[in-house]
């Protein structure tokens, strides 16, 4: 599904990703762990096409297509979704309006018919109930005045509504209490399927108790420096990143 090969990327002339190689096949969940400043968020922005991230080498394909050549919205229409580490506020645009605009734009790009207003509202009510989101909150301007935890929950709500194929979760666990973490993880797990894949970025092992990864990778110094099964996350939790930081 997603294949990153020898990816180099720079921000403001400073190289942050230094030859990152990673394959995430369809049906799998891969975790990326690493110390602060390792380049985890940088990777998520490079994959989604944020301005200011310059690709200086290597490449990435999604189902064989050159992902990095596409506009951010085209990547979204192909099914790439990023749950932001710091979700943005959209003043004046109600959450439901924003999500319906996004969903219909994706459908249009894929040549599918738009979703009708009643069908959209029905879907929204269903997903909001699953994620224990108060429906009235969806009528408010997206993320404006929301707490950190509410913003993360809104990310997962958007994910549930858009049903993407390749999911990137950037520190989705930060700012969540244990109840919220469980609800959010259930929302993510509901999207696990043989034709989807996920990249779960986290600093802590805690999230991986709920979203069980098939593979765990350590990102340090802009590279994958170790890969293993779920036991690697436990080892990192116990021993920390020092060993890998030095290796990088």
């Amino acid at each position: 599904m997603l294949s990153i090969s020898n990816l180099h990327a720079a921000v403001e002339g400073k190289e942050i990703l230094k030859g990152l190689t990673l394959d995430v096949p369809a049906g799998e969940v891969h975790a990326i762990m690493g110390p602060n400043g390792a380049g985890k968020s940088t990777l998520s922005y490079v994959l989604t096409g944020r301005q200011g991230y310059e690709i200086t080498g290597g490449g990435t394909t999604l189902d064989g297509e050159d992902l990095l050549a596409l506009e951010p919205n085209e990547r979204a229409a192909r099914g790439v979704f990023l749950s932001f580490q710091y979700p943005l506020e959209i003043p004046g645009v109600p959450a439901l309006t924003f999500i319906r605009t996004a969903l219909n734009a994706q459908k249009k790009a894929r040549g599918e018919p738009e979703i009708t207003a009643p069908a959209f509202l029905k879907l929204a009510r269903e997903k909001a109930a699953l994620l224990k989101i108060d429906f009235d909150m969806l009528k408010r301007a997206l993320n404006v005045g929301f707490s950190g935890g509410e913003k993360k929950r809104m990310e997962i709500f958007q994910m549930a509504m858009l049903s993407p194929r390749f999911l990137i979760l950037d520190e989705t666990d930060s700012g969540l209490d244990i109840d919220a973490l469980r609800i959010v993880s259930e929302g993510v797990n509901a999207l696990r399927s043989p034709d989807r894949a996920m990249l779960v970025i986290t600093h802590y092992q805690r999230l991986l108790d709920y979203i069980k990864p098939d593979r765990v990778h350590v990102l340090a110094g802009g590279r994958i420096v170790a890969s293993g099964g779920p036991e690697l996350a436990l080892e990192l939790e116990r021993d920390g990143y020092d060993r890998y930081a030095r290796a990088a």
Binding site: E71, P72, A76, F81, L88, P91, A105
Partner: protein, 340 residues
Amino acid sequence: MSLATALRTRDVTELPGKRDEAWRWTDLRGLIRVLPAPSERFEGDVGQGPFDRLADDHHVLVNGGEARIDVAAGKKALAVLRLVSRGAGAHASRVTVNLAAGARLRLLESYESDGASLAQTTLVIMLAEGAVLERIVLAQDHEDAVSVSQADVLLAPTADFGQTVVASGSRRQRIETVVAHPGGRASVRLDGVYLLDGKRHSDHTTVVTHTGVDGVTNQLVKGVVRDQARGVFQGRIVVNEGADRTDARMGHHAQLLSDRAEVDAKPELEIYADDVSCAHGNTVGAMDEDALFYARQRGIPEAEARAMLTEAFIGQVIDRIWFEAARRVLRTWAGKRLRG
């Protein structure tokens, strides 16, 4: 110096220009070397105005003339006022609006031109005690037109005056509102939106003078300027000595969407009273690129994401309009302009 005098005397040296402090950003003297010939009477069909369907009482002035709208004590009214320019001549219009005690009026006003006309409109608006007027202005002039609207608003205590001007600019466009505010629980809203592209120019000038205690003025003006267009905001609130317990708020916020776009802003609060509550904010910035990326990451194409964010930005002004049907007309109008 005034455009009205220049049109009456046919003397270009009467035009306001750079040397007049209040006109330094909208220099008519420097722009107009020769006054266009006086406009001819126009007998043809002027088509539909933007608010036609919202009211039955229509006042249409084409190439100048006079109109008078009176609302008797305690009565409610809804009126459309169209100031239409046809052709490339010069003309002036005069409108009087008079609300007796407790009268209520929704006034839906539009400026419409189709060429390089030079138009001046004088409005005299009077509100007696307890009268309520909501004045909605849509200035959708032709890009070659020069259009100046000047309103003098006289309020009695306990009157309530709400105004929202939505403007798309023209070669030179100026909407000026001067309010004599007596305090005494009279209340004023003086909002505006400008949405400019190409080489359009729009000037929002307001002066409110508080002369008595317990007056309220609330102003929110927002502008979005792209290409080589230019927005001007001159907002002045004067609180005279003794006009205590005045509550005055002024906000002007503009977004520049290109390097060559320009906004000139002069917000002024002149306070001579001791006990007042005043606040003002003035910002000129760019569109929030992070919010734009966020919207695009969700699948919204760039042009639509920009239109959506701009719509939301100015929507906060439109939302303050009391008359819901007018709100809808203006939202639709803005949506079309942003996607046009």
